[in-house]
Every structure is written in C-alpha cells, then in structure tokens.
C-alpha cells in the first residue's frame, strides 16, 4: 500500500521570524548595526493594560463641563526661587535643534505656549527662535555640553541635567554628518559634515556625590532662581530617584524605553531599559520613603499618547508627563499625506524611523532647507496645542469620573490591571480580584 504524505503548510519559526531573518541578512550585507530613531517597537506592558474603576456607590463623580477639575502643576518649588507653573501637566520632552529642523522646534514652542506648558531644548543648545516662541523653556544640560553657555542658562526657565534617556540608558548618541549644516556645526563647535558623538556620561562629574556639587554649582551660577531637573532613563528607578533627590534635584524626569531618540542602535533601543509602567511605582516609592513625594516632582515619559495615559501616569503617583514622539506626530511626523515619499524611502507612513538620515518627507527630522519648508510652524504649533488640549480634557474626563477635582488626586486605588504583568508592575490589583503579585491579597 502506497503512502501519500498529506500536505502540510510551510511553517516559519517564531524565533527566526521574517523580521529577524531580514535583520540577519542586512547585518551580513552591510557590516553595520541598524541605527534608527524613535523608541522601542516591541510590545511591552503599558498603560493600555490598566483600567480606571470610575465612581460607584462608595465614590461619587464630578459633573463633566460643570464641576472644576484642576490640571495645573507647580514644578521646582523645593529650592528654586522661580518655580515653574504650568496649566497642564503634559510637557514637551527634550528634542534637539539638529535632530529636528528649526521649524519643528518653533512649532513645538508655539504649541506648548498656547497650551500653557513647557518645552525643552536638546543636545546642541538653545536657539533664539526656540527661546522666542516658548513661554516656558527647559534647558538641557547634557554630557556633550554642545552649545552650553551661561547666558542661555540664565535665560532658561529651568535646567534639566540629563543623565540618561529611556531609549538608551547608558548610551550616548551620534548625529551623523549629513545632518550637520553650517548652523548646527557652529552651535556645536565642530567642523561641518563630520559625525558628532554625544557623550554617554558627563565630562566633569561621576556619581551622586559629584552630582550634588554640580547641582550646587548650577544653582550658584543662576542665583538659585531656576528649578533643576534630573532626567534618568528607566533603569533603576528607585535608586536613581532617591539619588537625584539626595543630590538636590527639584524635579526628577523618568523616561521609559518607549521614549524616542533621534538616533541609536536598534539593539540598544529594544534591549536596554524598562517600560515606563515598570518604572513609576519604584520612583514614587523612593519619593515616599524620603518624605519627598509632591515636594520633588516626578515627570514621566515614554509612550504617553492620550489623556488616559496621562491620567494613569498621574494616578500611579507622577506629577506630570512629557511627550516627544506623540508631539512629533501631532505636528505631522509620519503623516499619510507623504505616503508616496515614504514609499520611495522604502518605508510607509507610521513606520518611518530613519530620522538620523535627514530625509524626513514631513520636514521635521531634517536640516534640509527644502524639506524643512514643508512644515508651517504656525499651523503645526496649532495642531500641537489642539492635541495637548484634547489630552488634558481626556484626563479631566477620567478624573471627574473618579470623583477627583484635581488630576493629582487620582491614585492607585482608582486603577485595576488587565494582565498579571501590569498588575505586578503598576502594583494595582488584577481586575476583579484583590491580588497584586508580590504583595499578597490571594
């Protein structure tokens, strides 16, 4: 009797999936690791895995559109003579002129100013346009010290000492030569057209004891007027927060692995650092253990997209959030309007991440004058302001439903988790149970 082998469909490996295979071939062909912009693209436990409970018999809600739900936040009152007061707790994260076009930076400043929030410089220094269009501007103090000078330090509204960022805790950066225009080169004291390394650690301090002295120096230079933030990537949030507080920070900025970068190795983005969901509770715990929660403010970032994300971050104990990628999308990044041009670059709207190459069809992550012209900073600023307002309204909607008259009154008790992972990370019960992994409650 003959045996006929029945058809079985071809089976691809889950380990060696199509993307992995393509990456192996790309590495073999080029000899270079993949460099790209943006944050992690892998699926990680996130705010989507949390839900609010809302009001019920034991909690009464506030009337939408009628009863006040405050969204203001004061940042930096611990030591600074001039703390920052924002109308909304949604700030714009640090992004450099150099990585972004001048028009993009102007748009971010305009949008943030309309919405009553702050924007932040990046590696490369402060431009006059950015200062002029940003009512509240945070000046980043970075390891490279590109563009750093005391005049800009004094005309900033706050100083953010960058220790790390979520996309690459422990990593520096590289602005490739093709984005180094005359102006960018001049601001960074380097020849045009060469790759510019952004150092991974500060040149004149190492460790928390040095940081304390560095913060003191910056306060002395600016006559104790400016709030001083310390930004860390999501690596050891409990200890980093505690050490930043010990070093004298007014504000701790904590960036999860979903936070974007202008250009870093894909292997770094995808494999170093933790999701923001895993970072917030340890950071808040550190503040509480030191008696500094709400005295030293916590700004969290990395994958904030909506008012729901804002409300969840605040409920877990943050004082404010920062957005980067979402702000770029709001002003036009990865817009399907440019699909034909994304196709020419071998990608598609929504997936474009070669921000370091300077060919952005939307005119945002580029220094090409012709491409930059495509972005109208006034219209783009308006779009960002609209987006910030929508997020703020969304967060208020949720807070009122939970009976809170200030976004800061949201609390972990308002939340449940949909997955075990999110429950463990956010330290809120698995929905329908009183169980928090690692905390008991069976």
């Amino acid at each position: 009797m003959s045996y006929h082998n029945p058809y079985t469909p071809p089976r691809k490996s889950a380990t060696f999936d199509d993307y992995t295979l393509a990456e192996i071939r790309r590495a073999a062909a080029t000899g270079i690791y993949d460099i790209r912009g943006a944050g992690t693209k892998r699926k990680v436990p996130h705010f989507d895995d949390l839900l609010f409970l809302g009001a019920s018999i034991s909690r009464y809600p506030l009337e939408g559109y009628r009863e006040k739900c405050d969204t203001s936040v004061v940042l930096g009152a611990r030591h600074a003579k001039k703390p920052i007061v924002l109308k909304t707790p949604i700030t714009i994260a640090g992004m450099s002129f150099g990585a972004l076009s001048g028009n993009a930076k102007e748009a971010l400043g305009r949008g943030a100013t309309i919405a009553g929030t702050s924007t932040t410089t990046g590696d490369g220094g402060m431009t006059d346009e950015e200062r002029g269009h940003s009512q509240t501007l945070v000046y980043q103090y970075l390891p490279s010290r590109y563009g750093m000078n005391p005049k800009d330090l004094r005309r900033a509204d706050a100083i953010e000492i960058v220790v790390g960022q979520g996309a690459k805790p422990g990593g520096g950066g590289m602005l490739l030569g093709q984005k180094i225009s005359d102006r960018v080169a001049n601001m960074r004291n380097l020849p045009k057209g060469i790759d510019q390394r952004s150092a991974c650690r500060h040149p004149d301090w190492t460790g928390p004891d040095d940081l304390e002295i560095k913060i003191m120096e910056l306060r002395e230079i600016t006559d104790w007027e400016k709030p001083i933030y310390v930004k860390v990537g999501g690596a050891r949030p409990y200890y980093d927060t505690a050490l930043a507080v010990k070093a004298g920070a007014d504000v701790v900025v904590l960036d999860g692995m979903q936070g974007g970068t202008a250009a870093t190795q894909d292997v770094f983005i995808e494999n170093v650092g933790m999701p923001i969901l895993a970072c917030i509770r340890p950071a808040v715990q550190a503040l509480q253990d030191l008696g500094m929660h709400r005295k030293v403010q916590l700004i969290v970032s990395g994958g904030i997209r909506s008012g729901a994300d804002v409300a969840k971050a605040l409920a877990l104990g943050a004082d404010a959030v920062a957005i980067g990628t979402a702000a770029l999308v709001a002003i036009g990044d990865n817009d399907p309007h440019w699909e034909a041009e994304y196709q020419k670059l071998g990608t598609t709207a929504g997936a474009y991440d070669d921000w370091h190459e300077g060919k952005d069809p939307a005119g945002i992550t580029t220094q090409d004058p012709e491409l930059s012209k495509r972005l109208d900073p006034v219209a783009a600023g308006r779009r960002l302001a609209n987006y910030l307002k929508v997020m703020t309204l969304e967060a208020q909607t949720i807070a009122r439903a939970c009976g809170k008259n200030h976004l800061h009154n949201l609390e972990p008790e308002d939340l449940v988790a949909l997955t075990l992972e999110a429950s463990a990370m956010a330290q809120v019960p698995l929905a329908g149970t009183s169980w928090i992994p690692g905390k008991g409650g069976f």
Binding site: M148, K151, N189, P191, R197, P203, D204, E220, D223
Partner: protein, 240 residues
C-alpha cells in the same frame, strides 16, 4: 597673613571671608556687578576647599582666592580674571567662555572641561582628563597632566610643559595639543603632527600670556587628530 594691611593697600578690593560668610554672598556679589563699574576687585580668604567659588562671573572682575578650592572654581567664567593662590579641585574653569583663570598650585581632574574660550593656566600639575571635551579654551599646564587628557577635544589649545599620561587626545576632533615632555601613550585617532611656523607662533603667544619666559616653543611636539574616525566606518570598530 595680615588682611588689614592688604585692605589698606587695595582700597577698592572687597574681601569675602568664607569662614564668616556663605558662598552665596560672594557669588551673588559677583553677579550683581554693573557693567562699567570700578568696583571690580575681589579677594576671597579662607576658601577652605569650598566648591563653586566665583562661578558664573559675567563681568571683567578680578578675583584673588587665598587658599585652595574644591570643585568647579570659576565655572563658566565669562570675562573674569581669577587667581587661586593654592590648588583647585575637579572641574576648575569648566565651560569657561572668556577671561583668565590661574591656579598657582595643582589642579584635580577635568580642569577646563568643555571650555569655550579664555585662558586657564595651571602652574603645578593637572590630573586626569585635563581639557576633556574642550571647545575653544586655551590651557597651559606647567607641570604634568594625567591620563585621557583632551578626550574628545573639539577646539582650542592644550600646552603641557611636562609630561602627559596615557591616552592623550583620545577621539580628538580639532583641538591642538603641545607637549614638551614625554607622552605615555596616545589615544585613539591621536597622532604626532608637524610643528609648523603658525604653531610656533601660537605657542609663543600662549607661553607669553601665561607669563612663561624660560621655555621655547620649539621644545614642544604637536599632537592632533588623524581624522580617521570623523565619519563612522565599521572597519574602524577595533579603534574604540
């Protein structure tokens, strides 16, 4: 020392005794100087290793510090003339914009880090990472310098009358390095280069500014970037 004599001889000098008054008083007084004023001479006594002494100066003041200082003395100096009659801790004259800072003794690590302009003179030795990430500052060290000095130096001049430690000028950009003594080792992409007439002229100018008269520019060797790491190339990966 007898400070009363000092005060009589320099009537306009304002004296800040850091044993009796907080650092804040000194720095706020330095920042409160109005442009064009004559009241520009300061003396700091009993610094006792204080950090951030005379930082953020933005007027052409003169500050004499009688003793040793801690971290970041004269940080971000922009136009001031600061002399430390003692030694300096880490990061002296960090990110200096313009002006002159003179250390009569030794300097700890990161001296002149990221400086953009002005002149830093260290009459003793400087520890590791002297001139790290320098961006236009001129540094003259009369003694020796430690390892990794001028790391990622972008522009400006580092002049060393003594010896240099390991990995001098690692990952150097366009900063120019001159060493009179021995260099223990050169860092990645740093090479010895020809000492041309324009370099001799610049050296003579810097030695003169630093008040050094017994050393000839021709005694120095010049080091600079080989510029092979300026644009990323995978075949250079072994250099790092």
């Amino acid at each position: 020392m007898d400070l009363s004599v000092k005060r009589e001889s320099l009537e306009t000098m304002r004296v800040f005794d850091l044993a009796k008054m907080p650092l804040r008083d000194l720095n706020s007084a330095l920042h409160a100087i109005a442009p064009g004023t004559n009241d520009t001479n300061f003396e700091v006594v009993n610094p006792r290793g204080s950090h951030a002494v005379a930082v953020g100066i933005d007027q052409p003041v003169t500050v004499e510090v009688r003793g040793s200082v801690g971290y970041y003395c004269a940080g971000m100096n922009d136009g001031g003339s600061v002399t430390v009659h003692g030694s300096a801790g880490p990061g002296v004259a960090e990110n200096m914009m313009s002006g002159t800072v003179v250390i009569e003794g030794d300097a700890s690590q990161y001296a002149g880090a990221t400086g953009r302009g002005g002149l830093l003179v260290i009459k003793g030795n400087a520890a590791s990472r002297c001139g790290i990430s320098m961006k236009g500052i001129d540094i003259v060290v009369q003694g020796n310098i430690g390892h990794m000095s001028a790391f990622m130096g972008q522009s400006g001049h580092l002049v060393v009358l003594g010896n240099a430690g390991d990995a001098l000028g690692d990952s150097l950009y366009e900063a120019k390095l001159f060493v009179r003594g021995e260099v223990k080792s050169l860092g990645a992409d740093c090479i010895q280069k020809e000492l041309r007439p324009e370099h001799i002229e610049k050296l003579a100018e810097l030695l003169d500014k630093a008040g050094i008269t017994d050393v000839k520019p021709q005694e120095f060797k010049r080091y600079g970037s080989a510029r092979t790491l300026y644009n990323f190339n995978i075949d250079n990966a072994d250099a790092y």
